[in-house]
Amino acid sequence: MEVKVVRKILDVNDAMAAQNRNAFGKQGVFVLNVMSSPGSGKTALLERTLSQLSPEIRCAVIVGDVATSHDADRLAKSGAPVVQVNTDAFGGDCHLAAHVIGAAASDLDLSAIDLLIVENVGNLVCPAEFDIGEDARVVVLSVTEGEDKPVKYPLMFRVCDAALLNKIDLLPHLDYDIAAARGYIRQIKSDMPIFDVSAKTGEGFDAWIKWLKKTVAAKSTAAA
């Protein structure tokens, strides 16, 4: 006997994500989900991004890591509230799930925040599959990784709203073909905004910060 079910396997996560989105929306908090392979420079990018947004935009960060609080300690130096989530406690997960973000956000005063940035676990596969209730997603790729990462991880690049090509200060020392990397990204998503940046020197940050401010403002205008 066949019993029809027809349910999304991740419907529990999707429901939690909708709940998060609703709670963030009510408080006027914009949520940015930042994803990349380990070591692409998410934490370094966020350190500089936080310093450039403050005090105009009030930020907080949730940072996911399999273990340790090193990233949280680095980010807390900006003065923004930081919640560290060790996914170890949730079975060493390779991504942040919506219920984890919901629990972490309860440690924050959402009414005092305009932008909540989530540094996801370093992984280009799993986080792409899990909605956390975010408003925008960005993927970070560093020029020390292969140019063809976008075509190896197409889902990640399909679901993101912008891509950052980080560590461009290293380009003079590498054989990296940045035009090829851009081409691969656009092959997956033709209208993807791409920002060439260096978290180390700050090069390229003006365009990235401008895009981020515009994206955050677009939501608060729409909500008003």
Binding site: V5, I9, Q187, D191
Partner: protein, 115 residues
């Protein structure tokens, strides 16, 4: 990499789907649809499923995964096609303005119970 978690969700949903008037039902097969773009490796999912079902009403049941191809529609010319490689552009008019019409599924379709 999160196939164990996915398998756990499958088991949860499948167990919840056993009709209330059949508490002793033996589930023989669980049918899934998994899009080729979904971040799930069918082989790993099958492996995890066998382990995780051991002490459940699904013990010994088969997981059947129907892989769904990635298909797209062009917003500019209306062409429908199957995306074979990692190129998300219209093969007719080269537009990048496309929508995916399948390939991201991660669904449980039905369970089959021994009569």
């Amino acid at each position: 990499m999160h196939e164990m978690g996915i398998a756990a969700q499958v088991v949860q949903i499948a167990v919840d789907s056993i009709p209330a008037d059949m508490p002793k039902a033996r589930v023989q097969q669980v049918n899934l649809k998994v899009g080729k773009l979904a971040a799930v490796v069918p082989q790993s999912l099958l492996f995890c499923y066998d382990i995780i079902t051991r002490d459940t009403p699904l013990a010994g049941s088969r997981l059947h995964i129907e892989e769904v191809p990635v298909t797209a529609r062009c917003n500019d010319c209306g062409r429908d096609w199957t995306v074979e490689g990692p190129v998300f552009r219209c093969p007719d008019c080269d537009s990048g303005s496309i929508q995916l019409t399948s390939g991201q599924e991660l669904e449980i379709i039905s369970i089959e119970i021994e009569d």
